[in-house]
């Protein structure tokens, strides 16, 4: 078992190395080079040549990749071409905002998906189940930017309850931040919760129909106890797997939702730096998002390994 997990971890590390190469290679293909982008219209052949020399753009791409990689491994991601500051500070500042948003999303997501999953499984076939299941279909199918825009139109533009743009940097205090973050958080939560509720419901229904739950019921244990102590623990394990995959999904979701709400986070930074061709920032931001994505998938993988009884005791 331990060996199996170790090999997954090793594989993830190799994957990240290859991914960094792919990202670097993608960015190499961007039209123009760093020197023309920095100098813009002021470029003269002489100044371009000088800057290329200074930025070591004359070196072959493979050498520059190795330089970038070694620097990155030491925590140095270079300087932003546009916002003359260290990429690490820049990306980190935005990542903190995104982390705040993600924490809010998870705080809404966890109780909602647990509660609704339990409720729909217990009330299966009844009106409540059908109602929630309809919402689940909406949450799973409707693109997150459509959900975000519909919510903004209703609650920000028409009713004026929330600000249409999530300008977190101008918020003072915890509650004002929550107020500003509410709509983007709800948007992301809707999509994530839909999957989790569905998985929870399906797993719980299987568990509730199983022999040991029936046994517990026939022993005369109270309904509540059967549900919370017998059924729920066995349905939670797959829910953890879904949650890890959901957080991985979030790495793409934030790119879209942060754009909808003009939220100064990592996803928005990535889109902006791609349109500005700010290569060091693109590399750092996309690598960071990919690391989280790979980690979440790894965790989901390990969770399902640990939960598979067939693999227990395997070396």
């Amino acid at each position: 078992m331990a060996r199996l997990i170790l090999s997954r971890v090793a594989l993830a590390l190799i994957t990240l190395l290859v991914v960094s190469l792919i990202l670097f290679w993608c960015v190499e293909w961007l039209p123009g080079d760093a020197a023309t982008r920095i100098l813009g219209r002021d470029a003269t052949p002489q100044s371009l040549a000088v800057l290329r020399q200074k930025l070591q753009l004359n070196l072959p791409a493979a050498t520059r990749y190795l330089h970038w990689l070694t620097a990155a491994l030491h925590g140095d991601f270079g300087r932003s071409l546009v916002a003359d500051r260290s990429v690490l500070d820049y990306v980190w500042g935005r990542a903190v905002n995104t982390l705040g948003l993600a924490a809010f999303v998870l705080a809404l997501y966890t109780p909602l998906s647990l509660g609704l999953g339990l409720w729909t499984a217990v009330a299966r076939g009844r009106a409540a189940d059908h109602l929630v299941s309809t919402f689940v279909i909406f949450g799973m199918c409707v693109p997150e930017f459509v959900i975000g825009i519909v919510l903004t139109t209703i609650f920000a533009v028409t009713l004026g309850w929330f600000p249409p743009l999530a300008l977190i940097d101008q918020a003072h205090g915890f509650f004002e931040a929550l107020h500003v973050l509410f709509l983007p958080a709800i948007t992301l939560t809707a999509a994530m919760t839909a999957y989790a509720v569905r998985m929870m419901r399906e797993n719980l229904i299987d568990v509730l129909d199983s022999g040991y739950v029936q046994m517990a019921r026939l022993k005369g244990l109270p309904r509540r106890r059967v549900l919370l102590h017998h059924a729920l623990p066995n349905a939670i394990a797959p829910a953890l797997n879904v949650t890890a995959l959901n957080i991985a999904w979030l790495m793409g979701g934030i790119v879209v939702v942060e754009t909808v709400f003009n939220f100064p986070g990592l996803g928005r930074l990535l889109v902006d730096s791609i349109s500005l061709k700010d290569v060091p920032v693109i590399l750092a931001a996309s690598l960071l998002l990919t690391v989280v994505y790979v980690l979440c998938n790894l965790l989901a993988d390990i969770a399902s390994l640990l939960l598979n009884p067939k693999l227990r005791g395997v070396a």
């Binding site: 994957t15 792919i22 409707v142 139109t153 533009v157 998985m199 996309s286 998002l289």
Partner: protein
Amino acid sequence: MNVAKSRSVRALPLPPVAAVAAVVLIGIVVVSLTGPLWAPYGPAALGDGDPFEAPSFAHLFGTDNLGRDVFSRVVYGSRPVLVMATASTGLAVIIGAAIGLLLAYWRGWADELGMRALDIVMSIPPLILALLIISALGNSGVLVVLTVAFLFAPRVARVVRAATLAIVTEDYVTAAIARGETALGIAARELLPNVAGTVFVEFSIRTGYAIVFIGALSFLGFGAPPPAPEWGLMINEGYSNINASFWPVMAPAATMAALVIAVNLFTEGLARMIGQRGVSGLRE
């Protein structure tokens, strides 16, 4: 999976919800094919009305910031959405199914190597890789289709490979090997017909994902360049003027939502009918 079992329970009826979804889908496809019959104005004709007109009989969904008729643009926009989504998914399924079938047939080190390569492509968040590829190679409809196909193919391959591994040890495959058939021949004649259900459901699921994915790309400004009547692009353009009128945003957004819901409900019914897994997996 037990092929024999799913064969014997044939001809389950399509669930009613899925039937309704199928009717909606057929409706949208017919409207998109016969677009000019329905749309009273051209897709890019400027100044058919004043900017931001409210809905009326002349402009069913009102007009946008340039006075273009929103209803006509939504109707014309259905065609690129459907064509791009089905083209990219079709391409992804053809390539992915071929890879999945061959990997499962070869097994051993070729399979191991192939899967690791696919894992690496799948370990980059798809939206981020798509943004990078498209910004490197330039905005165009064709490039979007190729990029989405490239991102979806490994995911299709993984599913088809898993389904094929379950049948590759059957006697008829061994018999075909003994007859001296080639790998491609066995994949096409012996394996493919037995995983056809999986492949078809995969196509149906991925079409839904592709509509959302391509919509997100064009919303972010990485799809077909303006003034294409593409729903995601229309939403993007209308969103900056949301205070003036929400019709240019809401009309394409609601239509896109209806289309995706219809595709998913139809897929789910279809999957249940032929005894396959449903849409419960995460969209990725």
